[in-house]
């Protein structure tokens, strides 16, 4: 194992250990409610970046995958009483299948078409949920989550820890993709798809793999959501805000490496959480819009890129 991988592994262990200990050290549940949302976005941004960042294929439909995960896990839990880990796993598998389907339909053509088709995915899935009475349609569906196990002090803390495990697993997956042959191939696709194809890179297969992994992570991010809100309804499960944040966070953090989406999500989601309970007005959304424009205009490589450049300069 390389030195960087050892460091990463050490980091993972520390973060997980903190995640299990924190609920006992920090008594105020609010931090776990807010922290859950931040971690959910870390997962979403990371999942989005596997396809959007590494391969350069923009997915507007993150909310579609997320919502599919939300509804599948809510359905499996309320109908069959499946335990939480199985719900998450099932959501991930379903997200992967959805990703491959989407990819197979649209990836043979240009990336822009893929982006637009994903916009449609959200609408189609939302329409389907509206029309299935078993899922509650527009009235939504109440989900009373499992009782938290003894190692966690309460439901909000338990949800937080579950989300942390999912987030860490997603980041590890993204990092593995990045340093493996898949990442190399995807970077070639991003640089020039034709050139990659000519030099024997199996571009379509690579893109499908990326679609599947990305879809799986996005759907898994939605799996614990029903237990967080105790209630699911289509408008929030397929919310445009999720699709928007999925794009904005990697962009702000940087799309080239796994670090970018994590930084972007930690930063933007925390700012949003704080803004919700401080500014609390339209200005909140105006702020997000302005930040997006500012980053595209002045720091297109994202924060990790700025940071990297400065470090490079300091060294030279």
């Amino acid at each position: 194992m390389k030195k960087s991988s050892l460091l990463f592994l050490a980091g993972v262990i520390i973060v997980l250990a903190l995640g299990f200990l924190m609920p006992w050290l920090l008594r105020n549940p609010f931090y776990f409610f807010a922290g859950y949302v931040v971690l959910q976005y870390v997962t979403i941004a990371t999942g989005w970046n596997i396809l959007g960042g590494y391969a350069g294929y923009i997915n507007f439909g993150a909310a579609g995958f997320f919502g599919a995960g939300v509804y599948l896990s809510a359905f499996l839990f309320t109908t069959f009483g499946l335990p939480l880990p199985l719900c998450i796993l099932a959501s991930g598998v379903f997200g992967a299948i959805l990703g491959v389907l989407m990819g197979y339909l649209t990836l043979r053509i240009q990336g822009v078409y893929f982006a637009i088709a994903t916009l449609g995915l959200v609408v189609v899935l939302e329409t389907i949920v509206h029309n299935i009475s078993g899922l509650g349609g527009a009235s939504g569906m109440a989900v009373y989550g499992p009782r938290p196990p003894a190692w966690s002090p309460g439901p909000s803390q338990f949800n937080f820890t579950v989300m942390l495990v999912i987030a860490v697993a997603s980041v590890a997956l993204a990092r593995w993709v990045e340093i493996s042959w898949i990442g190399r191939g995807l970077r070639a696709v991003r640089a020039s798809e034709d050139a990659a194809e000519c030099s024997g890179v199996p571009t379509l297969r690579l893109k499908l793999v990326a679609c599947a992994l990305s879809g799986a992570v996005l759907a898994a991010a939605g799996a614990p959501y029903p237990f967080y809100t105790s209630f699911v309804e289509p408008v929030t499960a397929f919310s445009l805000v999720i699709g928007l944040n999925a794009i904005a966070m990697p962009l702000i953090g940087g799309t080239r490496t796994w670090v970018g989406p994590v930084i972007g999500a930690l930063l933007l989601a925390s700012v949003q959480q704080i803004a919700t309970v401080t500014i609390s007005s339209e200005l909140n959304i105006l702020f997000v819009g302005a930040v997006l424009i500012a980053f595209v205009a002045f720091a297109p490589g994202g924060i990790s890129d700025l940071f990297g450049r400065n470090k490079g300069r300091a060294r030279s």
């Binding site: 982006a115 916009l119 449609g120 609408v123 029309n131 105006l286 997006l292 595209v296």
Partner: protein, 292 residues
């Protein structure tokens, strides 16, 4: 007898609605279809156009007159937007799709919030004498509320298409996306041609806005519901095929109306995309686009 009656009316309603969709998609057909700039803020600009029309209508202007007055300010707005867009991306030698999408997404959020700060979040509508009555042709009942906006689309589309295909500056717009360098050799400045095109595209938003507010009341966030549909139309028509977009829009309109009449209206939001996905799978270059 009765079912034929319902079928005919559904088809006519579909044609009218489709024609309104074509108005909404026209500006995007220019920016995205011809210039390849994925301007997802376009539906929001249409809503801004609708609010412009609403404001003038409060002073007693007819919505269509108001839209014509709005052409110049919206043209200038479009020119300014493109100038901003190009200064942002010029330094980096061209935009990648992700960045321009995000830029326009940010822009549409800003416009939405400014509209909601300026006009409040209540629904706004215009009242004109012809709204509420309808034209009766045998078994057909055609509401003027849909008919008048629907007639705007073919007129504007024809005007834009004639301009693009018959005039020199129009030809330059169509050429700029493909042969930027050839255009500079011919003594034209590609940047100013694109600016002009973006201005025209944005000017169509105010016409579409007039159509939108005549059909029904609007609120600042109304653009969001249209994003998917207008992109579906532009892509399915084949990028850059302006007349094709009218045909596709009408096909989508008819399909939606038939689904609402015979299946259940609650399935209709999925129709445009079902057609889009099917279209992309079967004929990726679009129905009216040249094969690549």
């Amino acid at each position: 007898m009765l079912s034929i009656d319902i079928l005919l009316n559904a088809i006519v309603t579909g044609i009218l609605l489709g024609s309104v969709y074509a108005s909404l998609a026209l500006g995007l057909g220019i920016t995205f279809g011809i210039l390849h700039i994925p301007n997802i803020a376009h539906p929001t600009l249409v809503v801004a156009g609708a609010f412009f029309v609403y404001t003038l209508a409060q002073w007693g202007f007819d919505p269509i007159i108001a839209a014509v007055i709005g052409l110049v300010p919206f043209y200038l707005l479009g020119v300014a937007l493109y100038a901003f867009y190009s200064t942002v991306f010029e330094r980096k030698g061209g935009a990648n799709v992700l960045q321009s999408l995000t830029l326009f997404f940010g822009l549409s959020l800003v416009i939405e919030i400014l509209l909601s700060l300026g006009f409040g979040s209540e629904l706004k509508s215009v009242s004109v004498s012809y709204i509420g009555s309808s034209l009766k042709l045998g078994v057909l009942t055609v509401p003027y509320r849909l008919l008048i906006p629907a007639l705007l689309a073919p007129v504007t589309i024809a005007a834009v298409w004639l301009y693009l295909s018959r005039t020199n500056s129009g030809t330059a717009i169509r050429a700029v996306a493909h042969e930027e360098r050839a255009l500079s050799i011919a003594g034209l400045n590609p940047a100013s041609v694109k600016r002009h095109a973006f201005g025209i595209a944005t000017a169509t938003a105010v016409i579409a806005g007039a159509a939108l507010i005549m059909v029904g009341p609007i609120e600042p966030f109304a653009g969001r519901y249209q994003i998917g549909r207008v992109f579906a139309i532009v892509v399915l028509a084949g990028m850059g095929s302006i007349p094709g977009s009218l045909v596709i829009a009408i096909i989508i309109g008819i399909a939606e109306a038939l689904v609402s009449s015979y299946l259940n209206p609650s399935w209709s939001p999925g129709v445009a995309f079902a057609i889009l996905l099917l279209g992309l799978a079967l004929r990726p270059q679009g129905l009216f686009g040249a094969a690549r």
